[in-house]
C-alpha cells in the first residue's frame, strides 16, 4: 500500500532527524567530552527563588574552582513536581531544597527524609498593593492573602502575625498560589496581599505597584522558609557526598554575605546560568535592603524548629508527632562561626 509505505518511510526519517537534532541541540550528545570521563553525580532539586540561591552558587563556585561538578542542580517549576521527584526517585535526586514545614510534614507521614542544613534565613515579605488601605497586620481582616502552599512557612508567618494582632486564619482568606503568578495577581488586585520567597516580592516593589507590609526579617528575625532535605539512604550510603554538599552550601552562603560585590556577582551568574531571570530583579532582592535575605547562620537549631512545629500545630498544618532528632540530622552542619567563605572571585 502506497500510503502506508510512504508514511513509514517519512515517519522513520522524521523521527531519526528530530531525535538527532534534539540530542545535538539540547542534550549535548555530540559535544566533546571534557575532563576525565563522567563522574558519578547526584541531583539536588531547587526552584528559581532566593531561598534556594546557595544551590546554584555552590554549584557554580565548585565548577569554577575544581573544574568539575560536585552535583547536578535540578531545576523545577513548582513544588509538587519537585517533591514527587524527591520522594519517588531518591537514587537520582537524594537531596533537595524544600519548605521547612513541608519537610517536617513529610517526616510525620513516614517519609525517610531528614533536614541536614538550612538554605537561607529571612528573605520573605508580605506585599500589598500600594493603593490599598492596608498599613498594619490588623488591616488584613477580611482580605485575601496568597501563600505559596499549604506547607509553606509563609503561611505560618501570616498565622504568627495575625495572632500577635489578635486575629486568626478565620479572619482572613488564605489561598494557595504559585509564587511566579503572585505579582500579576497583586497588580490587578485579584488578591489583597501576597507572600512568598524572593525575588517575586521584590518584583512587585520594583514594578511600582507593590508595597512592603512587613519583611520577614523584621517580624520574625532569622525566619526559615527553606531547608536542605536529604533521603536517609543517602545519609547512610553517601555521607561524604552529603558532607561535601553541606560544606559547600555553608561556605557559599558565607561568600554571598561577605560583600555587596559578591551579592551582585551571584545575582549576575545565577540569573544568567540557572534562574533565567532578569539580573536586575535578583540584584534588587539581594540588595534592597542588603539583609533582606541572609545566608550565614545555616546550621539547624532546635529552638527554631520547635517554634515552627508549635505554630504549625496551632495552625493545623502539622501534627507535632515527630521530634527534632527525628526530622533533623545536624551532624553534617558545620558551626557557622568556624565556616570560612569560599575563596572565589568572579573573573570579569
Amino acid at each position: 500500500m502506497k500510503l502506508i509505505r510512504t508514511l513509514a518511510i517519512v515517519l522513520t526519517l522524521w523521527l531519526t532527524a528530530i531525535t538527532l537534532l534534539h540530542g545535538g541541540l539540547n542534550l549535548d550528545w555530540f559535544a566533546k567530552k571534557s575532563g576525565t570521563g563522567k563522574e558519578q553525580t547526584f541531583g539536588v532539586g531547587f526552584l528559581p527563588v532566593t531561598c534556594h540561591l546557595t544551590c546554584p552558587v555552590t554549584h557554580f563556585i565548585n565548577k569554577n574552582m575544581e573544574g568539575r561538578e560536585m552535583f547536578e542542580p535540578m531545576r523545577f517549576s513548582g513544588w509538587p513536581e519537585l517533591a514527587e521527584m524527591f520522594l519517588t526517585r531518591p537514587k537520582e535526586m537524594p537531596a533537595t531544597f524544600l519548605l521547612a514545614p513541608m519537610a517536617i510534614s513529610l517526616r510525620e507521614k513516614g517519609e525517610r527524609i531528614k533536614i541536614v542544613h538550612l538554605g537561607h534565613r529571612d528573605g520573605s515579605a508580605v506585599m500589598v498593593h500600594k493603593d490599598s488601605g492596608i498599613f498594619q497586620t490588623r488591616d488584613l481582616r477580611g482580605k485575601t492573602i496568597a501563600v505559596p502552599g499549604r506547607f509553606s512557612n509563609q503561611r505560618l508567618i501570616i498565622y504568627r502575625e495575625l495572632k500577635k494582632a489578635g486575629l486568626t486564619f478565620d479572619d482572613v482568606r488564605i489561598i494557595d498560589m504559585p509564587p511566579p503568578d503572585m505579582p500579576a495577581a497583586l497588580s490587578v488586585r485579584a488578591v489583597d496581599a501576597i507572600t512568598s520567597g524572593e525575588p517575586f516580592m521584590g518584583q512587585s516593589e520594583l514594578d511600582g505597584y507593590g508595597r512592603v507590609l512587613w519583611q520577614a526579617k523584621d517580624v520574625w528575625p532569622g525566619f526559615i522558609s527553606c531547608v536542605l532535605a536529604v533521603n536517609e539512604d543517602a545519609i547512610r550510603d553517601q555521607r561524604a557526598d552529603i558532607q561535601k554538599l553541606v560544606n559547600g552550601i555553608a561556605a557559599s552562603g558565607k561568600w554571598i554575605d561577605q560583600s555587596m560585590e559578591h551579592r551582585r556577582d551571584a545575582a549576575k551568574f545565577v540569573s544568567k546560568n540557572y534562574y533565567n531571570q532578569n539580573s536586575r530583579l535578583l540584584e534588587f532582592a539581594l540588595s534592597k535592603p542588603p539583609d533582606r535575605v541572609t545566608y550565614s547562620r545555616l546550621a539547624p537549631l532546635k529552638a527554631d524548629f520547635e517554634e515552627i512545629v508549635q505554630l504549625g500545630k496551632e495552625a493545623g498544618m502539622l501534627q507535632g508527632t515527630v521530634k527534632f532528632e527525628d526530622y533533623v540530622d545536624d551532624t553534617f552542619a558545620p558551626d557557622p562561626a568556624t565556616v570560612k567563605p569560599q575563596a572565589f572571585e568572579v573573573k570579569e
Partner: protein, 266 residues
C-alpha cells in the same frame, strides 16, 4: 474521475482567494482587538502583539528558538507515533472482535477522560524527569482518542462491504487486510489528525516536568522569570503556529487515493 472533498461552491478561483483573504481578515481583526485591549487596559503586564514578536526575536537571538521547537517536536513526535503504533492496532482489534470489545471497552472509556496532568506524579515515579516522562504523558493523551475512533470506525463499517467480500471467498486475515482496513483508513486518518492536535495540546502540561527545554517549558520558565509575559505569549503563539503547520501536513494524507475515496462518499 476524482472526487474533491470540498463542496462545489468553494472550488476553483473563488476558493483560493477566499481561503487566503478570509483567515487573514480574521487574523488582522484579532490582532487589532488584542492591541487595543492592551492599550485600553493601561497596564503593562499583558504584552501587545508587537512585544510578542520582539519576544520571539529575543529567543532567536539567545539561540533558544530552534532548540526549544526541536525539543517539543521531539517529544510530541515520539509520544504521538508510539500512540499510533499502539492505538490503531488496538482499536482495530476492539472494533472487530466482540469479546475484545466487551473486555477492554470499559477500561479504555474509564482511562480516557483522565487528564494527563493527573498522571504527572505517576510519570515522575515511573520515568523520572527526563524526556521519557513527557513523552509518556503525550502518548497517554493521544492513544485513547485514536483507539476509540478506530474502534468506532470498524464497528460502523458498511456491512455490504463485508458481505460482498465474504461472497468472494475472503475470510480471516485477508478479509481484514483487503477490505476492513482499507474501508476504515479514511476515518483512521481523521482520527490521527484529531489525536495529533491533542498530543500538541498537552505539550505545556507535559513539559511542566523538570525538563529544561521546549515550548511548554518556555511558558513555565517565563512565568518563573518574573514579568516576562511577552515570552509566555510567544510560547503560546509558537505552539499555535506549529500546531497549524502539523495539521496542514496531516491533511496532505487525505490526498492519497487510499483515503480520498472515503471523502467522496459524503
Amino acid at each position: 474521475m476524482s472526487v474533491r472533498p470540498y463542496s462545489p461552491v468553494m472550488q476553483g478561483r473563488n476558493f483560493s482567494i477566499a481561503s487566503v483573504l478570509l483567515p487573514l481578515g480574521v487574523a488582522v481583526l484579532f490582532l487589532a482587538a488584542w492591541h487595543l485591549a492592551v492599550k485600553g487596559s493601561g497596564r503593562d503586564i499583558m504584552p501587545a502583539p508587537w512585544q510578542v514578536v520582539l519576544g520571539i526575536g529575543e529567543l532567536q537571538r539567545n539561540g533558544l528558538l530552534v532548540p526549544y521547537v526541536t525539543a517539543s517536536l521531539f517529544r510530541v513526535s515520539w509520544g504521538f507515533i508510539i500512540a499510533v503504533l499502539v492505538g490503531v492496532p488496538f482499536g482495530l482489534l476492539l472494533g472487530w472482535f466482540r469479546p475484545a470489545f466487551m473486555a477492554f471497552n470499559p477500561f479504555v472509556q474509564a482511562l480516557r477522560p483522565i487528564s494527563p496532568i493527573a498522571w504527572i506524579p505517576l510519570a515522575i515515579l515511573w520515568f523520572g524527569v527526563k524526556d521519557i516522562a513527557p513523552i509518556f504523558l503525550i502518548f497517554l493523551a493521544s492513544v485513547f482518542p485514536i483507539t476509540v475512533s478506530v474502534m468506532a470506525a470498524v464497528q460502523n463499517i458498511q456491512s455490504v462491504y463485508v458481505r460482498a467480500a465474504r461472497n468472494f471467498g475472503l475470510s480471516g486475515l485477508s478479509l481484514f487486510r483487503r477490505v476492513v482496513f482499507p474501508a476504515v483508513l479514511p476515518q483512521i486518518i481523521t482520527a490521527l489528525r484529531i489525536a495529533l492536535g491533542i498530543a500538541w495540546l498537552v505539550l505545556v502540561a507535559a513539559e511542566m516536568l523538570a525538563v529544561t527545554s521546549g515550548l511548554g517549558y518556555l511558558i513555565h520558565d517565563a512565568r518563573n522569570a518574573g514579568k516576562r509575559y511577552d515570552l509566555v505569549v510567544s510560547g503560546m503563539v509558537l505552539i499555535g503556529a506549529i500546531g497549524l503547520i502539523l495539521d496542514l501536513l496531516v491533511r496532505r494524507l487525505e490526498k492519497f487515493d487510499e483515503v480520498r475515496w472515503g471523502y467522496g462518499q459524503r
